[in-house]
């Protein structure tokens, strides 16, 4: 894992002091909330319905036990004993006091963490494949590039006020576990015919009220030109985007208005210009960063056998673990989706337990996923039983990875000042409806995603089944969408028809799911069946 040197530490420390000063000016009344807002938003601090919410960056979803214990400490000291993992591989705290926020950031800085650019009109925290460095199918560990891009995009002077937020994702395998093409700018690491590593580049994706799937803007970008290219993209957008309507300022809208070809042409022109400025980071800096991501010392000669005599354990292994690139190791997924729980929520005690397990069994590494779960990336197969037992005791051993109860949900009306409807209670109701284990297993992979408003933080556009909270004459109502996906065959979900109330939507989902069960062909997942038969079959089941 990357470690800060004195430069990184000095930058984060300086940011804490800057914020401390700004918060003081606000508290003493020298700044109005209007003046303070853009400053706090550059530090992940939102004013929500009941309190301030702070979003802490977990760069590319990778962190360690020391950091997790600090997050637990923060949950206990500054919040109500909980944290909430988000769809951006970050963690949020919902009950923060402005007076304490600078101290909180100061504590984060002691474990090389921050909340820089986790909100506001800036380049946000970079997403990555949560199995990076462990996945059997990756070309190379993408995280050194993520870290390099993190540094390139921290406090970029020219892009101090972008038209809107800008989200980047990086993966290095064919299978897409990071919803790549739903990002403003996305890189897939590939090898060309000459065996060189480069980036396949996508641009202009995003959810929100006008969803677009990113288009491929370049087949192959040499890795040592990434900073030039990124600056070119940002400059074309920064100079040309509309500034008169906040809903039309994301880069996807500019791409749409100019057309992909013209956008690509302008980027290419600006890119050639940036190359002449020689601002790219040198190979030596990549090498320095990559050394931190050297594979951990995997033991050789381990057996791949797993003792499956405990049937409960065997079920967990089959659903929650994934192939690792090192023989004798597995990737273990920890569900943060207990039936009836709040998706992504975790208590301080549970955080400590996960930290202990990571330290003892996973080379001190933890990952946060965009599906709001956690991962222990490097567990010896012979240790899986002990890990499972500890998780079971902590209430973290649910068996539902990618199943109908592994629901993504945004905070919704329970916390969010922009919400039209509640997301969390609905997620709980759906999970309870489908709680039966056998039924879940039988239904197989089925991704439900819930957003409390059109901003789509719950990724409803990418849900196999998506749910969108809308305000219908002052009462909460939900639209149902089908057919979305964030994987390598990215697709956008479509609205089925008229919306439902809270009970109605759960029934409608059940009718949808039962229709799938009735018509699926052997081996078909829900999304496969939907793609084969289309919307009408399901509409008929839902509306009769």
């Amino acid at each position: 894992m990357y470690r800060y040197d004195k430069y990184d530490q000095a930058m984060v420390d300086a940011r804490v002091e800057e914020f401390r000063d700004q918060a003081r000016r606000r508290i003493e009344g020298h700044l109005t909330d209007d003046q303070f807002k853009p400053l706090r938003l550059k530090n992940g601090l939102y004013l929500q319905l009941h309190a301030y919410m702070l979003r802490v960056a977990i760069p590319y979803g990778t962190f360690d036990s020391r950091q997790m214990r600090k997050l637990a400490h923060i949950a206990r000291t500054y919040d109500r004993g909980y944290g909430h993992f988000t769809t951006r591989q970050n963690i949020q705290y919902n009950w923060i006091k402005l007076e304490e926020a600078a101290d909180l950031l100061g504590e984060l800085a002691t474990v090389e963490m921050h909340a820089i650019q986790t909100s506001g009109e800036s380049v946000r925290n970079i997403s990555a494949d949560q199995y990076a460095g462990a996945a059997a199918d990756e070309i190379i560990d993408p995280r050194p590039w993520c870290e390099m891009i993190r540094q390139m995009t921290t406090f970029m002077p020219e892009f101090s006020y972008l038209p809107r937020k800008f989200k980047i994702a990086v993966i290095a395998s064919k299978v897409d576990r990071a919803a790549l093409r739903w990002h403003d700018f996305a890189l897939r690491i590939v090898k060309n015919d000459a065996g060189e590593i480069g980036f396949e580049v996508y641009a202009g994706g995003g959810m929100g009220r006008t969803p677009f799937i990113a288009f491929k803007i370049r087949d192959f970008l040499p890795t040592d030109q990434i900073f030039s290219y990124l600056q070119a993209v940002l400059r074309v957008w920064n100079r040309n985007a509309r500034r008169d309507n906040i809903h039309k300022q994301r880069m996807k809208i500019l791409v749409h208005e100019l057309g992909e070809e013209e956008f690509a042409r302008q980027v290419e022109e600006e890119f050639q210009h940036f190359l002449t400025l020689a601002t790219d980071f040198p190979q030596a800096e990549y090498d320095r960063i990559a050394a931190y991501f050297a594979p951990p010392p995997f033991e050789q000669g381990l057996s791949d056998e797993i003792d499956r005599s405990d049937p409960e354990f065997a079920l967990w292994v089959d659903r929650q673990t994934v192939a690792h690139k090192a023989p004798g190791y597995a990737i273990a997924n920890i569900s943060l989706k207990p039936i009836g729980g709040i998706p992504g929520d975790i208590s301080a005690d549970q955080m400590d337990l996960v930290a202990d397990l990571a330290e003892r069994y996973s080379f001190d590494e933890i990952r946060a996923t965009h599906a709001q779960n956690l991962v222990l990336p490097h567990v010896r197969k012979q240790d899986l039983y002990a890990v499972w037992q500890a998780l079971t005791e902590a209430g973290l051993a649910d068996v539902n990875l990618d199943l109908v109860t592994d629901i993504i949900a945004c905070p919704g009306l329970d916390y969010c000042s922009l919400a039209n409807a509640r997301s969390i209670p609905l997620a709980q109701k759906i999970a309870e409806r489908f709680a039966d284990r056998q039924r879940q297993q039988d239904l197989g992979e089925l991704k439900i995603k819930i957003s409390g408003c059109i901003n789509a933080c719950g990724h409803h556009h990418a849900g196999n089944i998506g749910i969108l909270g809308v305000d219908k004459k002052g009462s909460e109502s939900y639209q149902l969408l089908l057919g979305g996906s964030g994987d390598e065959e990215t697709s956008q979900a479509k609205i089925t028809g008229p919306g439902f109330d809270e009970n109605g939507i759960v029934d409608a989902i059940e009718r949808t799911v039962e229709r799938y069960r009735a018509i699926r062909e052997p081996g078909e997942r829900f999304i496969d069946t939907y793609r084969r038969v289309g919307m009408d079959q399901f509409k008929e089941a839902i509306y009769g």
Binding site: L39, Q151, P157, E158, S160, Y161, N238, R239, H273
Partner: protein, 170 residues
């Protein structure tokens, strides 16, 4: 090699002085040693039409590259920020410096004191905000960050060069 960021005292400017604006109505901040141009700035279209003007005023949506052919008769470019959220002016300033312009670039309008450090890095060297800055806030903002992660339009040495002094040759 300098192990501190030299932005505040960059080329063509000392630590920055607060001086009365030519019109006299408010304080403005300037990081240049040469006398301030005092002719009124004209719009981009007017400037391109008029061969004798030396100062131009760029609105946020203006294409700064149109000034490319006439840089040698320019002494002052005012870049307006209609709202602090409108960041187009940051690119305008950096593009001007990339084109080789060495005259004054003044930020006007809704300018946040907390961002002047980043504006300096883009090439701005004077500030005439709607609401006057206070000296303490200016000093705090300019001395906040000890290093920079990336090159821009100033002479600050990016962290990666400090990390690899053997590589850095300028």
């Amino acid at each position: 090699m300098v192990d501190r960021n030299p932005v505040a005292g960059g080329p063509g400017g000392g630590p920055g002085t607060l001086e009365p604006a030519p019109g006299g109505e408010r304080d403005w901040l300037r990081f240049r040693d040469d006398p301030a141009p005092d002719e009124p700035a004209v719009t981009l279209d007017a400037f391109l039409d008029q061969s004798n003007a030396g100062s131009v005023r760029l609105e946020a949506g203006d294409d700064v590259r149109r000034l490319g052919p006439v840089l040698d008769r320019l002494r002052l470019v005012e870049v307006d920020f209609p709202r602090f959220r409108d960041g187009r002016g940051f690119s305008s300033a950096r593009v001007l410096r990339e084109m080789g312009y060495t005259g004054e670039i003044k930020a006007t309008g809704d300018v946040l004191v907390d961002l002047i450090y980043f504006m300096r890095r883009c090439g701005f060297d004077s500030f005439a905000p709607n609401v006057p800055f206070n000296r303490e806030d200016v000093n705090a903002a300019m001395s906040r960050y000890p290093y920079v992660y990336q090159p821009a339009a100033d002479d600050a040495v990016p962290i990666w060069k400090l990390r690899h002094p053997d590589l850095a040759n300028g």
